[in-house]
Subunit: 285 residues, 2 copies
């Protein structure tokens, strides 16, 4: 098996886009990144981010927002990009993810608005006051490969969990009680995150990472789908190699919506990405 | 003087838009909402929000993102809106704020992507775990009308502060030390917020509110302009009448950028809006 590297991995293969004309890309939404039969939103955002990185003169997403309009399906797709503005250090663009109905009508799945820059060209001052999450060491966290062999102890997410095979997730036990019917009620989710094939993180894979953990709703005793309406991610630093720590918090579940605030920390204790999504709660809490 | 109400106030007059055709609105950017000679970003977002509320079949912004492309100037402007998707409970649209150079070229100032709904139709469950900010009572906070009569004690923002006359801001003294050369270094800003003419808040004015306080950069000992690159606001509830409490935190100043996380609380202790902006720091910290 060939050495997995950034550019040569499952994630890169499954988020690849092919430019057919200026601003027009072919893509294929892989069934390998579904959860509860929905194509993972972070996987879609990363694919759109790849197209925008090709369309814009700057390589890295600095701030990227996606509005999830209709449910994507595994299969062919088209991405259309538009350049909004190009500047010396930053550029802005939009992207639309389109699929086609049986009778050939276009349906837009996702609309993205993003500003790109060059993370490698940023000054290296760091005055971050935020602290990495308090998460137990990797070997003390729960994954599909080391959960205790007790009934129900393996974090079980109902429905298809194809994406689970693409990821190396180790959940903080304090945020995995829901898997044995004992949610903490705090609305938190923390995990070590890696890609199953060992690919190191990069700015595009961070767009997947911010939406790759189980929903905080599970930790609040809610079950079922909590679809993302909108997600905005800030990519602040190219991540160092190695596993990431992801911490998600929900503090405002109200009116049938909740927010998920996510921080992603790398092995150098840098806060490499922050995101917030607005999601709908489709059941009475 | 006529009774100031929602719909009949400085804010409504100065954010008014006139539809000229489907998806085309005339607007006038008022010089009354400038700070350090820049037109306030929240004021612009509110104006765009008004246009989108007219263009879309749902009245209230639920989640709205703006990318600030070039500096707006007081004077005429055009807003172009596009409907992205209309649904039963939510609709999505984009808006572009355009101004014209002396030789008639179009320059885009701001691109917005937003999803709208009906805040009045949301279920009234509240499981918010966030708590209102610890801010002293209104009468113990510092505003331009009650600052102690000592040299330098009045919060002084260099440059034009036209917007200060539109707002009734009372800063938490713990976050106003910068005004007397003693910033706390914590990157926090808290204030009571109202409109100077007494207009009660509503979902559109919340879009102004999330960007209406002095920058947290002042509290970190930085001076000068900290321009917003992108701002995303979630409006979660129609606010109750009366003054709002606004709390802003910066935890990730690095690489020439910082984030400002804002919460807006109403008189009923509801977390009515949350926002995060990415801003550039244009000096060596």
């Amino acid at each position: 098996m060939s050495q997995v590297t950034i550019g040569n991995s499952e994630f890169d293969r499954d988020t690849a886009v092919t430019r057919r004309a200026t601003g027009v890309y072919e893509a294929h939404l892989s069934a390998g990144w579904t959860i509860i039969q929905a194509v993972n939103g972070g996987y879609l955002l990363a694919m759109m981010g790849r197209a925008l990185g090709d369309a814009l003169p700057h390589p890295d997403p600095l701030t990227i927002t996606g509005h999830y309009l209709t449910a994507s399906e595994p299969g062919p797709a088209v991405i259309r990009t538009e350049i909004v503005r190009t500047g010396r250090t930053m550029s802005t663009g939009t992207a639309s993810l389109i699929q086609f109905t049986h009778d050939g009508r276009e349906v837009e799945r996702l609309r993205v608005l993003a500003t790109y820059g060059d993370l490698g060209a940023l000054p290296d001052d760091v005055r971050t006051t935020a602290k990495p999450p308090a998460i137990p060491p990797y070997e003390h966290c729960l994954g599909t490969d080391n959960a205790p062999d007790t009934p129900g102890a393996r974090p079980a997410i109902p429905g298809s969990t194809e994406i689970a095979d693409r990821l190396a997730l180790r959940l903080d036990p304090a945020t995995a009680g829901w898997a044995i019917g004992a949610p903490s009620g705090k609305g938190e989710m923390r995990a070590w995150f890696g890609l199953a094939d060992g690919r190191d993180p990069d700015p595009l894979s961070l767009l997947l990472t911010v939406d790759a953990l189980p929903p905080t709703a599970f930790d609040m005793g809610l079950s079922g789908w909590v679809p993302t309406v909108e997600l905005t991610a800030h990519v602040r630093q190219r991540p160092a190699p190695g596993p990431l720590r992801v911490a998600i918090t929900t503090r405002n579940l109200a009116g049938g919506f909740l927010e998920e605030d996510t921080e992603v920390w790398d092995t150098e204790d840098r806060l490499v990405a922050q995101s917030r999504q607005l999601a709908r709660v489709l059941q009475t809490p």
